[in-house]
Each structure stands twice: as structure tokens, then as C-alpha cells.
Symmetry: C2
Subunit: 325 residues, 2 copies
Amino acid sequence: MPLIDVVLGVDIGGTNTKFGLVDRAGTPVVQTSIPTNAHEPAESLVARLHDGCTRMLAPLKATHALRGIGMGAPNANFFRGTVENPPNLSWKGVVPVADMVRKYYDLPVALTNDANAAALGEMLYGAAKGMKNFIVITLGTGLGSGIVSAGELVYGADGFAGEIGHTMVDPEGRECGCGQRGHLETYASATGLCRTVGELLAVRRDESPLRAIAPRDLTSRMVADAANAGDPIACEVFEVTGQILGMKLADSVAHLSPEAIILFGGLAAAGPLIFEPTARSLEEHLLPIFKNKVKLLPSALREGDTAVLGAAALIWNEILKQQKT
Amino acid sequence: MPLIDVVLGVDIGGTNTKFGLVDRAGTPVVQTSIPTNAHEPAESLVARLHDGCTRMLAPLKATHALRGIGMGAPNANFFRGTVENPPNLSWKGVVPVADMVRKYYDLPVALTNDANAAALGEMLYGAAKGMKNFIVITLGTGLGSGIVSAGELVYGADGFAGEIGHTMVDPEGRECGCGQRGHLETYASATGLCRTVGELLAVRRDESPLRAIAPRDLTSRMVADAANAGDPIACEVFEVTGQILGMKLADSVAHLSPEAIILFGGLAAAGPLIFEPTARSLEEHLLPIFKNKVKLLPSALREGDTAVLGAAALIWNEILKQQKT
């Protein structure tokens, strides 16, 4: 019997590193996770990852063949196979993660940031199946984005394209993690949503269950729960967030004319609370030639699988392209 | 002796239609223009174009071979070969211009908008030679843009990508020709510059030669002349315009990570008056990972040649790609 081809998908997060084996159809055959230990050097994580993968492959040796390793990580550079000054890890400077992995495996290794990996995952297995032009927006702690144009991820000149989270909403606006002010992710992200709660609580006088929660304890989930329970301030927070996100996504459409924009991540889990105002504002701000053409879609990947699937898609996409030509 | 391959480049403008024969090296062998006669149907223009081209080719028959026809036009759609509701022509609806041309020629015919054509012209023969990721901005009556990613023009899902002129500066801002408000081209274009003159003259009280010119007679050239003569209001107008343009171009960089942005067209002819504040503001607003990486360049094509060269580049680019594979 022929061996079943699988790709190792790895998602390096600030807390945990998930990895798993993904087959050609995008089914996660097996997956697990290990602590990232953000304070340790990258070599240590790669060594533990190799151990974990060896254990994972052991019972499958007779039936499965590993074809490559795809990795998603914050501040990853596809061209160089590096992770550069990642915000949530102690790794300093430019870390050659792909090369570290190649010491253990004589296989194709590719690395990109998590939002780009998510975009490939959606293209091969999710909401963007069959699409050639689309944008994936991840609404988590920050706002990440992966752009696909003519069926290819847009990396730009230096591999760092797709930073829609750092486009400008208000030059005099909120401080951004990048050192500038007023960027989109300070408004449209789980964190941005919570900052808007603080702003609205200061402006308005009406009661709200959100007044009982300390800012540092507040989560986007709590705001969603309050909105679903009818709290007018929580509802307005989602409305304002969607307004801003939709307006800026109209700018992205003017650049790229995508077929769809896919929202994904913790804040997207709020469903209609965030999708409805965003879709309304997007449509309102679109140039006439783009109106009624751009779909705003939720991810079609299972929340827990996305990171590993997307990372594996980085290799599967290359294998499938080679088979076509 | 082998024949010299040439491509017919055609630029359909609101007043004149320029066309010429361009060789592989990007030299315009011969060029001329005919009135567009914007009130006449497209068929009539195409028939006159065919006559003109026949006369142009007659003396070259023994030495040159026509290999294809590339066309630039407002609101042109590359995928469909159509011009759709052009703002400055009486043509209504979707006009199949490429098919009309194919009735006369059994040759490759391609059509795109003027800014996309300009981008290909810069890539093959101008300031973007050898670059694979860059943006061309045309600062004329409006603001047009052509985006190249990984060596390919970005057309998006429907062929209308690259509308950076219609990204948002101020949702409550100036009325835009597209029916919305506050778009970039209402500030950063020859027309936008003149609107800023009106605004500043109203705000300030100091004397200026610009106070002697009726708004409908004012041109960006007059504002440049006043600025070069030291008029503080004219200088501030350029400063404000560059501020806004640079800030929005930082958004474009966040999307696309280009190697360079090339400014082009009537307002770009003002040189340092517009380049200096734009470059300063761009650099100031760039995300740290992009700082000191993105060049702001003037076009390297001769002003009078650009439109025809760019249109011809549409075909030459395809021929060169085929020869590579």
C-alpha cells in the first residue's frame, strides 16, 4: 500500500507551540502542543519540537510519509526563513528558525507569519477555497492580515507585506504597540474593543455591567456577553469597532479588489455583533465599482485547527503547484 | 535581414488619443495623435485608429513587423478588454474596445487603465527596471495607481484593483468625483492641490499672488510657480498635500511592502515641492520594519512618451515572459 503523505504544521505562539500532521485533504491526522517557553533560546524549542515530532511519527512510520514542514510564527519572514524580533518571545534579533529545523530534517521547510499561514489554510481548506484574490484578517490581541493576489500570498519586497493592522485611523489617536499612534489594531482587535469600552464608559453616564470590571481584567468575550444581554454600551462598542474596521477595509479593497475578506480570531467569534456593523460600514465606504461585490466571511476552519492547518498549507500549496505544472 | 518587432501602443484620453510603435528596447519608433472625439461612439475612434496605424506602418512594411496592440484607457478592464462608463467620454456602459480592435487585427490585443500601463512602462523601461514590487502613482486631475507585486500587475478579482486615489483621508471631508467624500485624490492631485489653496486662503490673512486668480483658472503649475517664488501660502499648500499623501502611502506600504513608490504626472512635475514633504511624511508614518527601505522616485520616462510606452509595455511584457519560459 502506498504511504499517506503528510506535512508537519507548526504554530509558534507566545505561550504554546502547536504542531500536527496534516494530510493532502487538510485533515489533521494527529496534533498536540508543547509549551513555547518564551524565555528559552529558539534552539531549545526546535530541539523539543523535533523530539515531539519523532514521538508523533513513531506509530505512523509504516503508513505515513513526512513530506515537509510548514511553520507559522509572529514576525516570521518567508524569504529568509527567519523570525525577527518577535514581540512575545525573548528571542533577540534575526533568528534563523528554518535553518535550525533543517538541521534535523532533509525536507522542504517554510516559515511565514501566522496571518499569512491562516490565509493559505483558508485558500486550500476553508472559506477561500477556489478563490484567487482575498484577504484574511485575524482579530486577536492585534490585527494581522494575509493578502492573496492572483492565487499567491503577497510578500512584497522584503517579505513583510500584509500589515493592515498598522494602517492609519487617526494620526492623533491611540498609542500602538509599534510605537506609532492611531493604527487600526488599536481600535479593531480584541484589545482595541476593550479600549473602546473605556472610552465610551467615560463619555456616557448610563449604567453598564462593564463598569464593574477592571480594565486589565476585561476581555472581548465579556463585552460580547454584555452586548448579547442587551447592554447598550457594549452594543455601541461593537458598532463603533465595526464602523472603523469596515471603513479601513474599504481602503484595502481599493488597493486589492479582493473577492472576499475573511474575519477570524477571538473577536470574530463574536459573530453578528462584529460582522454586521463591519459589513455595513465596508459597503457604505466602497467605491461604486466595488459595491455588492466583496463578501465578508467567517473562517471555515475549526478554531483549534487553523494555526496548524495554515502552517501545513504553506508546504501543501507548493506541492500542489508543482504537481500542476 | 530580420524584421524589427514593434508593438502599437495606444493611449485613449478624454481629448486626444496618442499612438505609436515601440520596439523591444522601449524606443518609440514613431508616434502621433488623433482627436478622441469623445462624443462619437467607440467604433468610430477604433476605425480612425486603424487608418492612422495603417498610414504609420506603410513606410515601415519592409523593415518592421507589428506584434501586438497594447492600449491604455480610463476605466479599462484588463480581464474583459472593455472600457466601462469612462468619465470623460460619451461611451455608455461596457464597451468591448479590445474586440473592436481585433476586428482589424489578428494579433494579441490587451487593454488596461492608464496607471497600470504606466506601471508596466516604468518596470520595463523606466524607474522600476528590475523591480518586482512597486507602486506607480499618477498625480493628474485625479490620483491613479498601478500596483506591481512579485513582478505582476495586481488586478484583483474583477480587474479594478489599484484605486488608491479612492482611499479615505477624512470621512467628513471633500466631495469626490466618485460620489463619496474625503478620498485621497480630493487632496493629493493637481485638482486637490488647488482646492487646498482655496481652503488656506480662507484660513489665512496674509497676501498671496494666488488671491488674484479665480479658482476655476488656477492650475497646479501656478501654485508651483508661486511656491518657487517664495509665496508662503503656496509653500504651505505643497507641505499639506505632501503630508496627506505621505501618510496614505504609508498605508499602501503596510499592505504591499513595495521597494519603491514612483510619482508621476502633472503634480509630480513640481519636483522637490511635492517630493520632499511626501517623502518626509511617508517615512514618519511607516511602521518601523519598513523605515528607510521604501524609495520615493520620480518617473524615468519622458513625459510625452509615457502613455504610449506604457500601453505598448502591456504586450511587450507578455512577449518577454513567454520567451523566458
